[in-house]
Subunit: 350 residues, 2 copies
């Protein structure tokens, strides 16, 4: 688990669509950057739409037992228009996040030089969202009565516990404390969702007392979307619930260069279970198999993976390689997925 | 209720902060645009933070009985930092929306010439969001156990009924059908919130069969935030639930000129109860009483009010006046709240 074990035993889940292609490049860069004396052992798992179509299975107990033995997991993308909405999301992605208690969903947003943003001017964007990963409206609590009739009622229950909120808030404060600006924003909707809102706000304010150096602010989620497009430089670290985090991290990715460069980590900070790293983008079936996908988001997810496992210097080298590559793109012809991967592998090795 | 009654009996709720100032200008423009033979009767109500501080009351049954007698309601803004979060939102704003069954929350977004947007390029933005107003996670269902202890659990229940979803979906289809582009997007998160998601999606698809001319698409709420900043021209009419609607309409306002120009209607389409019209912005206590607030969002809300009551020509004149005023702003010194109101009143009368 730690860098000193000198073996990196990685579970690889390429998944569907462009997942296959981008993961290959992520592994290429990972191999190139790891110190010579670290042995990279990978085992590939065939989870996703193809397996579901073939066997009806999404993620079994045996699968979880197998995955558990790895130091970390690298995932490409899961999903296919042929699978009903929700089956792979609930049956695989969320099942894994919950089973491995991935309660810190880390999503950095940094607008790198040379990268296009839909925003006017030259916004400075460099923040990280700490999204809660195991609670909120994602628990699958809820149900339906009188399905398909004019009297159908469907509910979704957002479940928020002091235990679950406090650990993710504490993680976010620690991350804010470690950054130069030391700012943390809580995003919620505590004027409407008053039960969950009070829990989040009270715990946030309580933990804040232990981090006197961290400047805090509270923001409603609707207002936060405004600031993300008008004053993105305002943000340093954001902590928020599972659903609000889902929404604002896609917006954050859009303004800071698009989901082609957005990385994420589903982290179990205690190390009890392996953490999982994946690009924010999906399987993009429309461009799959054509070598058109940009592997950068996956490569940046590899950097998060390296940092999580204690390979800080290597993580930094991957990030620098990506920055340099992006900075040189303007005006050049588009490269294929593997050409970008090759270029990054050369840079991190050099 | 209809234009033929030739009396417009309006409830006016200036509210707090800049609410007072912007409502005065909204009324100025309304008086100026109404046909000579229409008698405008207004009655002012003192709801909001001041009344709450003085009496502890937010909205009583007697208040609701009084409001019920009006043709429509014009609201400025409610809220004050001295009132705990949630008290006026749940106790006044949401109570009123629920009591008067304001299930169609109409929020147009149109980027008018001369108006600044945070987006690069020259985006074409002209869409309307039909946000459900009486269900979803806004119902106040949920609760807290073991409050304030390390074992606290807080829940929020999103309640979705076939009745509630179908009527708002139907309203949105009718609006899409009446627009030149005839496009309707459903925004939800049906891959995670599968109970509510299936209800929304099934009803949307069923009602779609009755509107064969309307082109439909489905989009997850997270992806929608990306499109709102990268391809806002993609949207024509959007229908969505109460919480997703809250979030995306603030983002929509931000990209189409800011909340200074964002109008909204809380509509009871049957006319059983008066509908309420209000700017999307809040009470902005930081600039209150200084004549700095832009009354444009309130004036555009007056246009929505006029159209709702059947004064289509007058609504059009208000919108044209606003367009002309905005188009001439660039490079001019900032005007006060009442100067902008005066200018608009002159334009609509002229
Ligand atoms: C695919 C879906 C279950 C997932 C989520 O909602 O968390 C995705 O949108 C993400 O952000 O990782
Ligand atoms: C103030 C609040 C209750 C309200 C909402 O969430 O609906 C506001 O944000 C809005 O959009 O009208």
């Amino acid at each position: 688990m730690s860098a000193s074990s000198r073996t990196l035993n990685l579970a690889v889940i390429p998944g569907d669509g462009i997942g296959q292609e981008v993961v290959a490049e992520g592994l290429k860069v990972l191999s190139a950057v790891l110190p010579q004396d670290v042995k990279l052992e990978t085992k590939e798992y065939d989870f996703g739409a193809r397996r579901y179509h073939a066997t009806g299975e999404t993620l079994t107990d045996a699968d979880l037992d197998a995955l558990k033995k790895h130091d970390a997991i690298l995932l490409g993308a899961i999903g296919d228009p042929g699978v009903p909405s929700g089956v792979l999301e609930r049956g695989f992605l969320l099942k894994l996040r919950f089973a491995f208690d991935h309660h810190v969903n880390l999503r950095p947003s940094k607008l790198l030089p040379g990268v296009a943003t839909p925003l006017a001017g030259e916004p400075q964007i460099d923040f990280v969202v700490v999204r809660e990963g195991t609670e909120g409206p994602y628990t699958g609590n809820g149900g339906t009565i009188r399905k398909g009739t004019p009297h159908e009622v469907a509910t979704e229950v957002s479940v928020n516990t002091a235990f679950g909120v406090e650990r993710v808030v504490r993680d976010a404060f620690a991350r804010a404390q470690a950054r130069p600006r030391k700012k943390l924003a809580l995003i919620h909707k505590n004027n409407v969702l008053t039960f969950a809102g009070h829990l989040w706000t009270n715990i946030f304010n309580k933990v804040a007392e232990e981090f006197p150096e961290v400047t805090t602010e509270y923001m409603h989620v609707d207002a936060a979307t405004i600031y993300l497009v008008t004053q993105p430089e305002r943000f340093d670290v954001i902590v928020t619930d599972n659903l609000f985090g889902d929404i604002i991290t896609d917006l954050a990715a859009a303004v800071s260069g698009g989901i082609g460069v957005a990385a994420s980590g589903n982290i179990n900070p205690s190390g009890e279970f392996p953490s999982m790293f994946e690009p924010v983008h999906g399987s993009a079936p429309d461009i799959a198999g054509q070598g058109k996908a940009d592997p950068t988001a996956t490569v940046l997810s590899v950097a998060l993976l390296l940092r999580h496992l204690g390979y800080d210097a290597e993580a930094g080298r991957v990030e620098e390689a990506v920055s340099a590559d992006l900075a040189e793109r303007t005006g050049k012809p588009a490269r294929s997925t593997s050409e970008i991967g090759d270029a990054l592998a050369v840079r991190v090795a050099g």
